[in-house]
Amino acid sequence: MRYRDPLRFAVPLVASFALVASACGSDGDSDSSASDSSTSDAPDSTEATDGTAASDGTEAASGDICVEGDNVQLGFLNSTSGVMAISEQTVRDSLMLAAAEINADGGIMGKQIEFIEEDGQSEPTIFAEKINKLLTDDNVAAVFGGWTSASRKAMLPVVEGANGLLFYPVQYEGLEASPNIYYTGATTNQQIIPAMDFLASEGVETLFLAGSDYVFPRTANKIIKQYAEELGIEIVGEEYVPLDSDDWTTQVAKIADAQPDFVFNTINGSSNVGFIKAYDEAGLGADNSPIISVSIAEEEAPSMGVDLTGQYASWNYFQSVESPENEAFIAAFQDEYGDRPTSDPMEAAYTSLYLYKNMVEKAESFCVDAVNAASDGVTFEAPEGLVTVDGENHHIAKTGLIGQINAENQFDIVWSSDAPIEPDPFLEGYSWWDSSEE
């Protein structure tokens, strides 16, 4: 009766499942599906010309700008396979658009951009491996990319060890400032705190927190709870669901029961669909219990299977921002890639390449130390508005925006901060913040 043998494996099998499952709960966005598709050296990436660029700023002698020849090589490191591909491919697209525009306009300090594309495969370890290859084998002057916090954390020691440069284009949980990374997405005081200011201005008295169970929502909610106390907003509930779980029915029942004025949604990825569907199923919606989200943008809104009209999101860029720069950005993007929406991380990536150009031209050098020395106060008239680099913490000043979803799945901007908000990744300027408090 050999076919009964599986019973022998039952206990160790279940025990190892338990280990796997609990490990999965803690590793950020990296879902398990990244299978090996080969790294894409895209057809339009230029042939490698080893040794023309050197990012090692320590060797910079006076007059040496660390890049020889007529070209400067940059690394674009985004996931074009695996679960994050759908998001990161949009960042890759806008980086290529910015590179083409800059090249058409004469390049950076007269040097044409050549980019080397690598695929992070939605796996933090691959990101670390690839950025090491870009910085040490290809000697690129700077790398652009990363999306999940796990991928950024994996790249950080490598880029610091090689004294390279990384431009990271996604809003994140703050509490980080590396001399070798520029953060062109929002830190918490540019996205979470403006959202709370907006809620306070709306007269919100009770708030329910719903998030995925990993570092960003946990950190964001810690900030939200402390600021809510300052603002006199009562937190009436706080619920998390593991990243790989889509079932929100039990938690939504708690929200329906608590009847909060507003729900603050820090759920990431596909879990949003389960949340929004369960919300709708429970009879909750924009009219009786509105939601403010920090990860639902123009692209995600149509994929929920539920009408989101009237719900809110906090970002620093919406496609609906009215400025000549944004009009030009959208026109150029859609001209190149068809009728696709533009979103906050795409804009931040596009902006990051221009900021790098402006830093290099101010430094008159591609050397990392020279670029860092010159970075403070570098500005760019971005599609989102004027952004300014903070040379101290390497983040950029950005305007906080609140948008309300309309029937076309675009956002009507209903609130904005008075001016670009100075980045404060460690929230040092906020007296109510106590990082040790739970």
Binding site: Y3, R4, P6, A85, T249, E281
Partner: protein, 294 residues
């Protein structure tokens, strides 16, 4: 909030989905000694069938009902294909099938991503599923009731098939004593194939129910495969009765613990309880000795 009604009803609905995911596993695990880690991907296939059916027929009316047979047949055929191309070479080597089907699961996920994209596609509940029943103060979504009815109908049909049809008798004979069944003229190869078709098809049905909860996405199956295995092992391998009870208990217990603690803590507690249970009773709720499947 009502302390009992909400987790009880929600948990029963979740248990119904676990049941549909686990029925196929218990059949193939019990009958053939095959650990099919790709069963979660048949859930995913079922969910995409719901999406495609709605693309063709529209989101309202009865399209979700028409999606059910479509999902059953397509997922079942994929299961059959898996059996013929991979599994049949590995019978009675459970660890080999485990590794091979994990590989198949990854391939299917990447295929779904290449075909449909990594961003999930929406599946819309028709209006007749959008309402709510008031049960002891809990506004019970029709969708959960639908899920329970669907699982019970599938279970009833499967039990009847096993009990009364000649195919069902052949399955039971094969499970109880493969060699003896062969000497009596049962083609165990055909029985194995049909069992695989049936089990994968049931997972396809579960996928339609999941699509109503969370839409589709390529990795949707991964969240269900491990709980489904817990259900199979706790219920006792090859035991329909045990699987039904275990699915219901795991579903309701998870909902209660989620309600009392948090989603992540609930998972940890459930795993711990299952490990303790299996240390005490490694054969599961019901043992193979009863030699009955239905």
């Amino acid at each position: 909030m009502d302390l009992l009604t909400t987790p009880f009803l929600t948990g029963t609905a979740n248990g119904a989905i676990l049941l549909m995911a686990a029925l196929g596993l218990t059949l193939t695990f019990g009958q053939m000694g095959v650990i099919n880690m790709a069963n979660g991907e048949f859930l995913m296939v079922g969910a995409y069938m719901a999406y495609l059916t709605q693309q063709v027929l529209g989101t309202s009316g009865l399209s979700i009902l028409i999606a059910l047979p479509v999902a059953f047949i397509i997922a079942g055929l994929l299961g059959l294909l898996l059996e013929v191309t991979v599994i049949q070479w590995m019978y009675e080597r459970p660890l080999d099938t485990l590794l091979a089907t994990v590989g198949v699961a990854l391939v299917l996920q990447q295929l779904a991503q290449d075909i449909f994209g990594a961003q999930g596609d929406p599946v819309t509940a028709p209006s007749w599923l959008g309402g709510r029943l008031s049960v002891f103060g809990y506004e019970w979504p029709h969708r959960q009731l639908f899920t329970i009815v669907l699982a019970l109908t599938a279970l009833g049909a499967l039990s009847a098939l096993l009990k009364y049809s000649s195919f069902g008798r052949q399955i039971r004979a094969t499970v109880q004593n493969r060699q003896l069944a062969e000497t009596l003229g049962v083609s165990t190869r055909n029985v194995d194939r049909l069992t695989f078709f049936l089990g994968s098809g049931l997972a396809g049905l579960g996928g339609v129910a999941i699509a109503l909860i969370s839409g589709t996405n390529p990795t949707l199956g991964t969240a269900y495969i491990i709980p489904a295995f817990l259900v199979v092992v706790v219920g006792g391998v090859g035991q329909l009765k045990g699987t039904v009870i275990a699915a219901w208990v795991v579903g309701v217990a998870t909902a209660f613990l989620t309600d009392r603690t948090s989603g992540s803590t609930a998972q940890v507690i459930i795993f711990a309880l299952v490990v303790i249970f299996l240390v005490i009773r490694p054969q599961g709720l019901f043992t193979v000795r009863t030699r009955s499947l239905a």
